[in-house]
């Protein structure tokens, strides 16, 4: 697998209603969804949350295969959490172990807790991936800057933080490409990055890391010069090319998010 194939947090361009939504709406909706996810306790509430996410995925036309592939990176965490819940959930009232070997006992309550926890993590990851798949990094930072705007009052350098973040995000693909290129060049000279013990592998990274550092510094330098040439001087009085504006669908989505939270809370309150 080439490094380029990693899809962690990559944007897939598109023109669906989810893509066009205001990034602030998507950010807030994601937060609301996560809050609802952590309030959910019953199968019914999980069912509702699952259906909502499935609906969003369908609307965004992100292919299931792509979404599943992104899970690969976090499968370890999912499995580990599942196993811990499976083995360490104490017995429910009057339950006898389903399985028992050595020091482990598996109770029906454990199976139940583990499956809900795994489902919760999967939904959590899928919804955040959906956000980054349908929103370009630039829009996400624009949205964050706008949402964090009020914090300027307490002297937090919101614009600078957002600018740093968008520069960092902007250069991730560039650096990945660069890494790929230098790796290929050193492989062409007979370097090997995946054989030998840990020490040898670490040593093998030197021919990769030195050129990468040097080119990063060069890029940073060039970027700084290019920004100064265009009279960049920070956030004060700076206007935006893309003005963020809420549309009808954004109010609708936010209303729906709030309703979702309230509904899940109410379900928990009623004990359903």
């Amino acid at each position: 697998m080439a490094i380029k194939d990693i899809t962690l947090g990559q944007y897939f361009p598109g023109n669906t209603v989810v893509h066009r939504m205001d990034p602030r709406t998507k950010l807030l909706f994601t937060v609301l969804y996560i809050v609802a996810l952590f309030m959910a306790g019953s199968p019914l509430s999980y069912g509702i949350l699952f259906a909502v996410l499935a609906g969003c995925v369908l609307l965004s036309r992100i292919r299931l295969k792509v979404l599943l592939r992104s899970m690969r990176a976090v499968i370890f965490i999912v499995v580990l959490t599942g196993l811990l819940n499976l083995f360490y959930t104490p017995a429910g009232p009057g339950e006898s172990p389903l399985l028992s070997f050595w020091v482990f006992r598996v109770y029906p309550a454990g199976v139940w807790a583990a499956s809900l926890m795994v489902l919760r993590i999967i939904l959590l990851i899928c919804c955040t991936f959906l956000l980054t798949y349908t929103t370009s990094p630039i829009l996400i930072t624009d949205g964050l800057e706008s949402l964090l705007g009020p914090l300027k009052k307490i002297k937090l350098p919101v614009h600078e933080l957002a600018m740093m973040m968008s520069i960092a995000l902007r250069f991730i693909p560039t650096l990945i490409e660069e890494t790929d290129k230098i790796m290929s060049a050193q492989k062409a000279r007979g370097a090997s990055f995946d054989t030998g013990n840990l020490v040898q592998k670490a040593k093998a990274l030197v021919p990769l890391l030195v050129p990468l550092f040097i080119s990063s510094f060069r890029r940073a330098d060039e970027l700084a010069v290019a920004m100064e040439c265009r009279c960049y001087h920070g956030g004060e009085g700076r206007t935006k090319l893309r003005q963020l504006r809420y549309a009808g669908r954004d109010y609708l989505a936010l209303g729906f998010g709030l309703a979702l939270c309230a509904g899940i809370w109410a379900l928990g309150y009623l004990g359903l």
Partner: protein
């Protein structure tokens, strides 16, 4: 002539199954002969870089074969390793891959990876440095103290030191001044002659290719529409123009002269040929 490197129905698809799916190569058949100086030409995104990364086994074909001396380079681990060392690949802007403390150590990186002994490594480093005109004093410097052209030559020496029987260079002259261009092309010629090595140069400059290459391969949209000696290739001026490549300026001048009714050979592509063609047209014979 004996073929050294061949591709058979070579295809490559990037990121299959995602919205970024891209057919970079479509059933490419290419043959490079022993001791030949081959030019691969095509505009950005035509698949040149993808093609050459298949030739030493850096990329694995989606379908099709790459044969080195008649053996599929993916048939065994040894064959792939042999391809890495026998087919030397110099990437675009190779100076960005320099990393060692001294130029000497950097050039020695390839031979060291081949598992050669100290004496052999030393011989190869010194010979490679001589090919690219770097003297002993420079060999002891840090690669980061060198000038742009020197860095580029040091990086090329790093590949030459592996003594590949096929030397592939991707845009070796990009971003150099005219003197630097001449020097690098001269160094490559020197290696080509001294070792009877096959040289494959990738470029988008028709002028440069026309002057140096024995044979040209034109790439367009992941396929090879034309290949042959420069004179033959430049008869397709119209098609080349449509692919965004064009022909050397001198060829254009002569084609225009021909269109205006002058009795000249329209297939010339160097200034020396142009002089002979004009003399021939004036009935004076070559000098």
């Amino acid at each position: 002539m004996e073929p050294i490197l061949e591709t058979r129905q070579l295809s490559h698809i990037y990121s299959p199954g995602t919205p970024f799916e891209h057919n970079a190569l479509r059933a490419v058949d290419l043959t490079a002969y022993r001791g030949e100086y081959l030019g691969v030409i095509g505009r950005t995104g035509s698949g040149k870089s993808t093609l050459i990364q298949h030739l030493n086994g850096l990329l694995k074909p989606t379908s099709g074969q790459v044969l080195l001396n008649g053996t599929d380079i993916w048939s065994s681990k040894e064959a792939t390793r042999a391809a890495r060392f026998q087919v030397g690949l110099v990437f675009q802007y190779p100076e960005y891959q320099l990393f060692e403390e001294t130029v000497y150590k950097d050039i020695a990186f390839g031979p060291k990876n081949m598992g050669l002994d100290e004496g052999e490594i030393d011989r190869r480093v010194r010979e490679a440095a001589a090919f690219v005109e770097l003297d002993d004093e420079i060999l002891e410097k840090s690669p980061f103290e060198l000038s742009g052209g020197q860095k580029r030559r040091a990086a090329i020496a790093g590949v030459i030191a592996m003594e590949p029987s096929v030397l592939i260079l991707d845009e070796p002259t990009a971003g150099l001044d005219p003197a630097g261009v001449e020097r690098i092309l001269g160094n490559i010629q020197a290696y080509h002659r001294a070792r009877n090595a096959t040289v494959i140069i990738v470029s988008h400059s028709m002028e440069e290719m026309a002057r140096t290459a024995d044979r040209l391969v034109v790439m367009h949209d992941g396929a090879i529409p034309f290949q042959g000696p420069p004179r033959e290739i430049f008869t397709h001026a119209q098609e080349l123009e449509e692919m965004g490549l064009g022909v050397p300026q001198i060829t254009r001048v002569f084609q225009r002269l021909r269109a205006l009714g002058a009795e000249v050979d329209p297939s010339v592509y160097t200034v020396a040929q142009a002089r002979d063609a004009i003399l021939a047209a004036l009935g004076k014979g070559a000098v």
